[in-house]
């Protein structure tokens, strides 16, 4: 029996986020009352954030394999083969709750955590993205959150030296009390130099690396697994503080360390710090772990075992070391002025032992803590599909030019330059396509290959119809990668939802996962890593369901890519894909007609694949001068974006279609692209598309200083630009 100086009361159990039945499970498992430290360990390992207990049943249904998949979900990050003995390592993770409480540090440590996930596996991070959702612009907290989150992401990534090349930003009142900060990182490694967290070998030293342990972030992942009431500000002490300078040194030290051959297994300390990293390494390797906390480097004195086990101090790692390489490994960490301390050993008893001041403060079965955590099949309700909105019930704008200007200046559609100029998107010297296009492209250092990255989800679609919305999120990422000429390889998903104990919310999660899975299947676009963030609710109101999807794509020759900017006067503008004029859940409907209803645009996955494959072929053959998919705002907004990016005009006639003109111009039909091609190529490109069964129509030509739809509108591109670029700086009080 372990000594316990603090009484374990039902209140304490509840404060630590364990339900009465979960506590009973603890009692049954160990046959005695747990010590406070043990209870803390259970609370950390079994909370939603670490255990995926509500979502695991459904996550298992997602396609996770494919010819290029080297490592699917379950490790620090997913791995796919990019040829020539190289792999891409990537993942996305949320830091929603911490960012709402303390936006700068919350977002910064979100970036730090995801970078560590990638370089723990031996990869050097080469690109970062982020997906951000904030409350209504006029909500009193929104501006503060935007400023802090953006500065925090930049502050960490810029100093660390990873280019932040893209992302998305949305505003909606449903995020008023709970913003979303999802951070993505991509790294590249040699396929034969990848490191995993599974420990092997008994009696080997367990070594602590990086920064010292402090009291910051104690209980962070438990906080992140609960709803907010009005007391969010009181939770600030659970937010960690980031130190990108230490992280940069940790990256370089890990790269040097891994080259010494000293590493058996390595795991970064993220959520639930020492607890989670030690348990995962042991449980995965079918080993026990013994930790002596007296050997852990600490930032302050008098820390209890409980605090040390639950601290989420940043920039730390745990590894199992080959003892004969100890001196070489320690020298690397000394060089980089980082801590290196042997804090335990692997054992063969499948127990997790923790010692403090010579006394055992925890002795738990390791498998049950790790990969045998509770799993729930929560009740969920089938949600009703909204009625399809007939386009002719939505009024035409009084003035098309004004409507376009209003749309491109709307908070959800205006230029994000104010955001991405705070991110260093060029460091490392491999950025081929910068932020602002469909997908960013980086060159794989030292090769002619490129990797494209994009992140997407349209929460209002998911809210209206979670299954179609889930499908659409995957399809849009696939389309954005295709639009720059990349072959989409795989995705990472970040599922942000409300309280899963509510059947409606659980119903959204289940349906969205079904939609994601369906799209992944048809598009051969497997899920290789991901993260689930539930309980995104404040005072009982859930966020819009937001399954953010980030994907990567490969360009065998990085020079064969397409951007959105119109490049040459006289080029012909084509529309590829079937235009039906779908106005349900469109931005036009919300911003111009003042309504948010109808079903979201359906995705025909077979057509999606057919259209995309045909367009990718044309881009790779060098036959397209610009390409942009149609998404938020519809055809006219897409064309305006192409004109603004190229700083030149375009002249088109009304597209052909059965729907009213405003529905064709502003509808958000899926699987559609606008293409610019040299005039002499136009006929051949049209024939090639038709040959691949892709609907195509000629819309007009590039040139002049105005964007013109004959007989409908004519707006100078300069006027468009001013409107598009002004909203964000004006909102942030800078102009």
């Amino acid at each position: 029996m372990l000594k316990n100086e603090i009484a374990i009361t039902p209140e304490l159990v509840a404060d630590l986020g364990l339900k009465p039945d979960e506590y009973q499970r603890v009692l049954d498992l160990i046959g005695r009352e747990p010590s406070l430290t043990e209870l803390g360990i259970f609370s950390a390992m079994w909370n939603e954030h670490c255990s995926y207990k509500s979502s695991r049943k459904w996550l298992r249904t997602l396609p996770t394999t494919g010819p290029r998949v080297v490592c699917g979900p379950g490790e620090n990050a997913g791995i796919v083969d990019i040829g020539d003995g190289q792999v891409a390592v990537f993942k996305m993770e949320s830091h929603n709750h911490p960012s709402y409480i303390e936006p700068y540090q919350g977002a910064a440590t979100g970036v730090g955590g995801i970078l560590r996930d990638v370089f723990t596996m031996g990869a050097r991070p080469v690109a970062a993205l982020n997906a951000l959702r904030f409350g209504a612009p006029d909500h009193p907290r929104t501006r503060h959150l935007v400023a802090g989150v953006v500065a925090g992401i930049g502050g960490y990534g810029n100093s660390f030296g990873v280019p932040t090349v893209g992302g998305e930003v949305n505003f909606h009142p449903r995020y008023n009390g709970n913003c979303l900060v999802n951070a993505f990182a991509l790294g590249i490694a040699d396929a034969d130099k990848v490191f995993y967290s599974k420990a092997e070998g008994v009696g080997l030293p367990v070594v602590y690396l990086g920064a010292k342990t402090g009291r910051d972030g104690v209980g962070g992942s438990t906080m992140a697994s609960a709803e907010f009431a009005d007391d969010a500000d009181e939770k600030r002490p659970t937010v960690q503080v980031g130190d990108p300078f230490t992280e940069k040194r940790l990256l370089e030290a890990c790269q040097e360390l891994m080259a010494t051959g000293a590493v058996v297994a390595i795991q970064d300390m993220g959520a639930a710090g020492l607890t989670c990293s030690a348990v995962e390494m042991g449980a995965k390797g079918d080993l026990g772990v013994r930790l002596d906390l007296d050997a852990v480097p600490t930032r302050e004195t008098g820390m209890s075992a409980y605090e040390m086990m639950l601290s989420e101090s940043q920039e730390r790692m745990l590894m199992v070391l080959r003892p004969e390489k100890r001196a070489a490994a320690e020298a690397v960490f000394k060089k980089w002025d980082l801590d290196f301390a042997e804090v335990g050993q692997t054992t063969n008893d499948l127990r997790f032992h923790v010692l403090r001041h010579g006394e055992e403060v925890a002795n738990l079965p390791i498998k049950e803590l790790g990969d045998e955590a509770p799993e729930y099949d929560r009740p969920w309700s089938e949600l009703q599909k909204p009625a399809v909105l007939a386009a002719d019930t939505v009024a035409e704008p009084a003035d098309y030019g004004q409507a376009l200007l209003q749309l491109i200046a709307a908070p959800d559609l205006c230029s994000r330059r104010w955001v991405w100029e705070q991110y260093d998107y060029l460091v490392q010297g491999n950025t081929v396509q910068r932020p602002g296009g469909d997908a960013a492209i980086i060159r794989v250092d030292g090769t002619n290959k490129g990797l494209a990255v994009a992140v997407d989800v349209t929460p209002r679609y998911v809210e209206a119809d979670p299954r179609e919305g889930g499908k659409q999120a995957v399809a849009e990422v696939w389309r954005n990668l295709t639009a720059v000429g990349a072959e989409p390889l795989a995705i990472t998903d970040n599922l942000n939802f409300g309280n899963p104990e509510k059947p409606d919310v659980m119903g959204q999660l289940v349906a969205a996962i079904k939609g994601i899975g369906a799209a992944c299947e048809v598009l051969a676009f497997p899920v290789v890593s991901g993260n689930v963030s539930l309980y995104n609710e404040t005072s009982g109101e859930a966020i819009l369901p937001t399954p953010a999807i980030a994907g990567i794509g490969l360009l065998p020759d990085v020079a064969q890519n397409a951007g959105i900017a119109l490049e040459d006067d006289g080029d012909v503008i084509l529309l590829a894909g079937a235009l039906t004029g779908w106005l349900g859940q469109s931005i036009y409907l919300r911003e111009i007609a003042g309504r948010e209803d109808g079903g979201p645009p359906p995705v025909d996955l077979a057509a999606e694949k057919r259209n995309g494959d045909a367009i990718r072929k044309l881009i790779r053959a060098g036959r397209i001068t610009a390409c942009h998919d149609i998404s938020d705002g519809g055809l006219l907004v897409a064309l305006a974006e192409m004109a603004m990016a190229g700083e030149r005009g375009a002249n088109i006639h009304a597209p052909e279609g059965a729907a009213p003109l405003h529905a064709l111009l502003f509808g958000e039909d899926q699987g559609c692209y606008l293409l610019a091609v040299a005039a002499e190529e136009a006929e051949a490109v049209i024939a090639a598309l038709q040959n691949d069964d892709v609907p195509v129509q000629r819309l007009g030509t590039v040139g002049g200083a105005d964007l013109v739809v004959e007989g409908t509108l004519a707006v100078p591109v300069k006027t468009l630009r001013t409107a598009h670029e002004s909203w964000f700086p004006a909102y942030m009080g800078e102009i």
Partner: protein
């Protein structure tokens, strides 16, 4: 051309710099760790690349300027070896006293990554002679502390002595620098500091090669010296 790139903890643009150097020279640049006390012999160029040395937790460049290797950098600079400091390197050269003035926090108080139009004010230096006088090139900046400041007398003197080498062209000053100064050179003409990153615009894949002539200028100067 024999070059050395200094690596401080927190340096993060050394790869960009090395890639740019390799475009103008076959010789592999030596990477020199800050804790060393001596540089290799016979150098044609010493580079302090960009990044966040020591996290910029004190004034940017203040701690790296006091690194062990900097004594030899100063010594070689005084002996006439060309020294190029870009971004964090420029900040360190100012902190080390090799260049006058200081780089303050941007006037916007925010980090800024943006392509600016950069005017070559002095095209007769060892670093810029392959540009045309008053040529305006594209060049990105990426910094939080690029707001150049010096007292009026120093600024007047820099201008009078043609030591302002780069200026942000009209309307493109991203950081509030005095007199739009983007880069300056020392009296002897062998130590150049600049905030913009020419190394990130040296490949057609970057969208432009406007930065390449700076490295070509350095390389041809080195060749002429050797000949």
């Amino acid at each position: 051309m024999k070059s050395a790139v200094i690596l401080f903890p927190g340096t993060n643009r050394e790869r960009d710099m090395i890639a740019a150097l390799k475009k103008v020279t076959d010789a592999e640049p030596a990477i020199v760790w800050h804790a060393k006390t001596a540089l290799p012999d016979g150098l044609d160029l010493i580079v302090l690349p960009g990044g966040f040395s020591y996290g910029d937790y004190l004034r940017a460049g203040a701690i790296s300027a006091r690194s062990p290797i900097m004594r030899d950098v100063v010594h070689r600079a005084e002996a006439g070896v060309p020294v190029l400091g870009v971004c964090n390197g420029f900040q360190a050269l100012c902190e080390a006293g090799l260049l006058p003035g200081v780089l303050m926090r941007n006037a916007s108080l925010k980090f800024v990554c943006r392509e600016v139009r950069l005017e070559i004010v002095n095209a007769q230096t060892a670093f810029t002679h392959l540009y045309r006088p008053s040529q305006v090139i594209r060049c990105p900046v990426a910094h939080h502390d690029g707001n150049y400041f010096a007292d009026e007398a120093t600024l007047d003197r820099l201008e009078a002595e043609s030591r302002v080498v780069f200026r942000y062209a009209q309307g493109s000053n991203p950081n509030g620098s005095q007199r739009d100064i983007a880069g300056i050179i020392n009296e002897a003409g062998n130590v150049l500091g600049m905030m913009p990153h020419p190394e990130d615009l040296t490949d057609p894949l970057h969208g432009s090669t406007d930065g390449l002539a700076l490295f070509q200028s350095i390389a041809t100067t080195a060749q002429e010296k050797a000949a």
